[in-house]
């Protein structure tokens, strides 16, 4: 199963590298969101070093931007396969449906991590914010949180792929489920890391890890039933 999954992931990443369609759009989107925050904080005099020093504000802005970009990216995970009816080939291939899930998870996760890290960079450059030197822990949290969110999102995207109207509803469904399981603990962990409260951060990291295991597990159980027999 793993080999088939990696083949699917490699195919997706190759398409991504060659066309750069999704990645370019998502990078621009993340940049625009960060800049919107930047200009709205202007009202509070962020350039005087006031709010920029808030270690509670930055994690929230960072994660909201990452979640918005990933949600946008999730919409195309399966619907882009519909264009050339590639999805039928994928479903007919002698590989289990779970391989399809794992493959899509790996390729989406790889793109979203790039977006998350670029968002971190944008925030650092434009707010500006120095993350108090805690670059590696914040990167680790971004990797973990993005993985958990993608694990949920790939399944949600699979269900909504075949119907256009549902794509509008997808974020409405996904964000409440992820809010308490992924987004809030990740924000809390990031601000704990920035405040150097490592034991607090560890609790929340465990919580996000538990959620991602739960999402991967449930997805592997239901993924086979998502497609018409």
């Amino acid at each position: 199963m793993l080999r088939e999954a990696l083949t699917i992931a490699a195919k997706d990443l190759l398409v991504e590298v060659r066309t750069k369609e999704r990645l370019a759009a998502l990078v621009l989107f993340s940049l625009v969101v960060v800049l919107s925050f930047r200009f709205s904080f202007e009202l509070f005099g962020v350039h005087d070093g006031g709010l920029a020093q808030s270690h509670f504000l930055v994690p929230a802005v960072l994660w909201v931007t990452v979640v918005f970009s990933a949600t946008l990216g999730m919409l195309t995970v399966f619907s882009k396969e519909e264009e050339n009816r590639c999805i039928e080939g994928l479903l007919l291939a002698p590989a289990s449906r779970n391989a399809l899930y794992v493959g899509k998870l790996v390729s989406s996760f790889a793109s979203f991590v790039v977006i998350a890290l670029l968002t971190m960079l944008f925030l650092g450059a434009f707010l500006p914010y120095d993350y108090r030197g805690q670059y590696l822990p914040v990167v680790g949290l971004l990797v973990l949180g993005t993985f958990a969110y993608t694990a949920l999102g790939v399944t949600a995207a699979a269900v909504s792929a075949s119907s256009r109207m549902r794509e509008v509803l997808l974020p409405v469904i996904m964000i409440p489920i992820a809010l308490f399981t992924v987004i809030v603990p990740s924000i809390a962990a990031t601000s704990d890391v920035l405040l150097e409260n490592l034991s607090g951060a560890l609790d929340e990291v465990r919580f996000v890890a538990f959620s991602s295991v739960l999402f991967v597990g449930v997805s592997l159980l239901v993924f086979d039933y998502l497609w018409e027999a």
Partner: protein
């Protein structure tokens, strides 16, 4: 037809009997001031109640919350059953159960925040993980109901079923959140005195029966709606 009608009437009568029993127990058995709670005034400490008499709202709050979780459990089981069997009746059951569950969880949130006001002076505390988790649960199932328009469309049923499963996965997570976010959760553990247990049990039975009664009628309405759609289509076809 007659069997279904009598099931509905039976459930109504049974739930009303238990509702009256609950009201009677509240009126006659638990009517004197709650002296078994030590009144320590604010700030609230474990075992201390600043508004000891307000605890009676728990005799509605706990059954309402229990029924809400029961209905979300039914949504989960029916969603799994739908994905396995592709029988649209499971999908209808999940939708009906979710609709009623949203009403019950709304009432549980309202009674909970009324107690909060009496005991702590504020209606809502965002910093309390349990309240936040229940609020998120409420939005998740409102999204479920909004998504499920009940048109018996196969794609919609599939999406709803997967959503129903994931939505329920957040229930244990929201419970576990109390232990993970211990810093956020003000621990007030209301201990129920032994004399309130029979009333609480009656309340749980009464609300469970009432839930089943509502569920029965929701399913009947759906079946009638579906028949009406069928009749309309035949009429349009013949015209």
């Amino acid at each position: 037809m007659g069997r279904r009608e009598s099931l509905g009437t039976g459930l109504l009568v049974a739930s009303m009997v238990f509702m009256f029993l609950l009201a009677a127990l509240l009126a006659f058995y638990l009517s004197e001031p709650a002296s078994s709670f030590p009144d320590c005034g604010p700030p609230p400490l474990p075992g201390c109640w600043s508004a000891p008499d307000a605890f009676r709202i728990f005799l509605f709050h706990v059954p309402l919350a229990w029924t809400a979780y029961l209905s979300f459990g039914i949504v989960f089981v029916a969603s799994v059953a739908y994905l396995r069997t592709r029988d649209l009746r499971w999908d209808t059951l999940a939708m009906a159960s979710a609709e009623i569950g949203v009403v019950f969880v709304t009432l549980a949130l309202l009674t909970g925040s009324i107690w909060n006001r009496a005991e702590l002076g504020v209606y809502w505390r965002w910093e309390d993980g349990r309240l936040f988790a229940t609020f998120v649960l409420w939005t998740v199932y409102i999204a479920y109901v909004a998504l499920h328009t009940g048109t018996r469309d196969v794609q919609e049923a599939r999406l709803s079923a997967v959503f129903g499963i994931f939505a329920f996965a957040t229930v244990p997570v929201s419970y576990l959140s109390q232990f993970f976010f211990s810093s956020l959760h003000i621990s007030i553990r209301p201990t129920f005195p032994a004399e309130t247990w029979p009333t609480l049990a009656v309340g749980v039975v009464a609300f469970t029966l009432f839930f089943l009664y509502l569920l029965h009628w929701r399913l009947r309405i759906d079946a009638l709606e579906f028949r009406l759609v069928g009749i309309k289509e035949t009429m349009e076809g013949s015209a």
